[in-house]
């Protein structure tokens, strides 16, 4: 995600920092990104989450679906009645909360990654076609995007999932579908801005075909807003998937998906706060870390904000 050409050559001159010239566009991007402490913090937390997801099977104390039926609703270890064997306590059927939270990271990150990939690819292709060819292609594509956007996203995703059938995979398809118009709109706008620039015209005069012009000449110069949107969509996808899980339409129990875990815990809110608290906290921390990164990336990639 980070190996990206920064398109704003002018602003690089304007900022005139040694990093820009010496380390190339990536170095400059990092330099601007690292100026925000929040963004770096978000990146660190995000990397830790990835590490936790990768290592979950090795470091989690138990299997996330293993039930300890003698130890139901054990409070966290530091509370009276807590057990050192279950640091964050257990839920209503005796699952170890810590193991489930660790494994949940795998679900959320994979969900975010797959959803963003799907919606990015579809949205970018549609946006490129609409912005490059204009005419009826543009009208049809953008009308359809407008229609999708007029439904509240969660509601449309809910109905889609109820039609396609409950489950994580269908939930991901539904979320990708409702997030994809944002990519299409952004790409279209960027393509229309770039299309008549001189470098595109010269490439066309040199005999480049449509496909080459679209994907190799224009697309790389539209990447900055798309990267920011992808980051924001990543956190949105995680939130919406968790919401669908919470409403019982996403991942199904006993899958250790954070939203689904919250759904199971709803009846216990007044009896066992820890069953409710940890999964939500995990969602919040993940989404917050990604949004912090997104803000940092936006500031680093947007030359207009950079100056202010």
């Amino acid at each position: 995600m980070t190996d990206v050409q920064v398109p704003d050559a002018e602003s690089a001159e304007e900022v005139a920092l040694p990093a820009g010239g010496r380390f190339g566009p990536l170095g400059e991007l990092w330099h601007d990104f690292a100026r925000s402490r929040g963004a770096v913090l978000g990146l660190v937390v995000f990397l830790l989450l990835i590490l936790m997801a990768l290592l979950a099977p090795l470091v989690a104390p138990y299997d996330p679906t293993q039930q300890f039926q003698q130890n139901i609703l054990v409070p966290p270890a530091w509370l009276p009645g807590g057990m050192a064997a279950f640091p964050l306590g257990t839920d209503a059927v005796g699952h170890d909360m810590l193991s489930r939270i660790m494994h949940g990271a795998r679900y959320s990150l994979v969900i975010g990654f797959i959803v963003v990939t799907m919606s990015l690819v579809c949205g970018v292709v549609l946006g490129l076609l609409a912005g490059y060819f204009r005419g009826w292609v543009d009208v049809v594509v953008m009308r359809v995007m407008d229609i999708i956007l007029s439904f509240p996203s969660l509601l449309l995703a809910l109905v889609l999932v109820s039609v396609l059938g409950r489950g994580l995979f269908n939930a991901m398809i539904a979320i990708a579908l409702v997030l994809q118009p944002h990519f299409a709109r952004l790409t279209r706008a960027a393509v229309m801005a770039e299309k008549n620039r001189e470098y595109v015209i010269s490439a066309r005069v040199a005999g480049a075909g449509h496909l080459r012009l679209i994907f190799l000449t224009i697309l790389p110069n539209c990447l900055a807003p798309l990267i920011v949107q992808a980051t924001l969509s990543f956190s949105n996808a995680i939130l919406e998937a968790a919401a669908l899980g919470f409403l019982g339409l996403g991942a199904q129990p006993p899958t250790p998906e954070w939203g689904t875990m919250l759904a199971d815990a709803r009846d216990l809110i007044l009896r066992a706060w820890w069953v409710v608290t940890w999964p939500g906290l995990a969602i919040l921390i993940t989404v917050l870390a990604i949004n912090l990164m997104g803000d940092g990336l936006r500031d680093a990639l947007d030359p207009k904000l950079k100056r202010s």
Binding site: D146, L158, F246, L247, I269
Partner: protein, 335 residues
């Protein structure tokens, strides 16, 4: 100006048609067997199945069915709920005020807190308040509101017993719904304590539903103010010796308001999505919970009709925001 208005309004028609096709088609094309869903009969003989197909009109070509659905909708007939056997539109009418009341309170909270916080953060850029506000807004923006609601219930209902867990009013109060807005109805009823009860039921759901709009509005206000405060006319106003309060309030804020108003308008879709979760947590009898229940019961007349009405409302609000934006900001019209 008029041609801008007409063009913008004309764009609505294809969108509306699209919305109706999606609302109608999603469930019709993809669901397994509408007859089984509608009749609730399971082991049907093929003859009985065909008879019901005919009775419900499902043996006609799909486009004929679509046209007859749209024809009905244009006459205010959105079909009849399978579970309650009452017209979809009537149900919507009874439940919508609950959602509207909740959404208005949430929005009020978001605007009353979000705009001043955003202005103050921008004016005192880099101060501890700015950092606190920016940080809090980012947390609010990242909040899984369904979890936030549960947490608030744990603390304020379970722990402190300050607020009730669910519903719109305590069961001991019973009066006729005159406006559908519990705050107004409870006042009109004249029953002692009814209004307080209604207010206490509204507090937590409003906070939950208002959290994300609040964060979005605060962030937008702050960045719009920062942009405006750097403009030449603000510097001019300052240098000619106007008091800072006047510069911020009159010169800067009025211009920063334009994007903020747009943001507020665009939160309506957000509110509808949030209402689904909020109403489900607090058992709030509004259209969000209605839709969830309908999806659970596979009551597809309600899902169809609800989706169509909600999308139309969201689209209409967005249209009004767009038109208002053009009225406030002449630069848009020129395009």
């Amino acid at each position: 100006m008029l041609s801008f208005f007409l063009k913008r309004v004309a764009l609505v028609i294809p969108t509306l048609i699209g919305i109706s096709i999606i609302s109608f088609g999603l469930i019709r094309v993809l669901s397994v067997d509408p007859v089984q869903l509608l009749s609730g009969e399971h082991a049907m003989s093929p003859e009985r199945h065909a008879e019901l197909m005919h009775q419900f009109g499902f043996d006609r070509p799909i486009w004929v069915q679509y046209l007859s659905y749209v024809g009905g909708v244009l006459h205010g007939d959105f079909g009849v709920s399978i579970t309650t056997k009452t017209p979809v539109l009537t149900q919507f009418g009874t439940l919508f005020p609950a959602t509207l009341e909740l959404a208005l309170c949430a929005m009020l909270l978001a605007v009353v807190v979000g705009i001043p916080a955003g202005i103050f953060a921008a004016v005192k850029r880099g101060s501890w308040f700015d950092q606190l506000a920016t940080g809090t807004a980012l947390v609010g923006y990242s909040m899984p509101i369904f979890w936030w609601g549960l947490l608030l219930i744990i603390v304020f209902s379970g722990g402190l017993h300050w607020t009730p867990v669910s519903g719109r009013i305590d069961l001991q109060y019973f009066f006729k719904a005159r406006t559908g807005f519990m705050l107004i109805d409870s006042l009109l009823s004249g029953q002692k304590g009814a209004f307080q009860s209604a207010v206490s039921h509204l507090i937590l759901p409003s906070i939950v539903l208002g959290t994300i709009p609040l964060a979005v509005i605060a962030r937008q206000t702050r960045s719009a103010m920062l942009e405006v405060l750097g403009e030449d006319y603000v510097r001019t106003a300052r240098s000619k010796g106007l008091p800072p309060r006047r510069v911020v309030g009159l010169h800067a804020f009025r211009n920063a308001l334009i994007p903020v108003v747009t943001t507020i308008g665009l939160q309506v879709g957000m509110l509808m999505a949030g209402a689904v979760l909020t109403e489900s947590i607090f058992s709030w009898p509004g259209i969000g919970k209605w839709m969830i229940d309908a999806i659970g019961h596979r009551d597809y007349a309600v899902v169809q009709g609800g989706l169509l009405i909600i999308a139309t409302i969201v689209m209409a609000v967005n249209l009004v925001v767009d038109l208002l934006y053009a009225v406030i900001n002449p630069r848009v019209r020129a395009r």
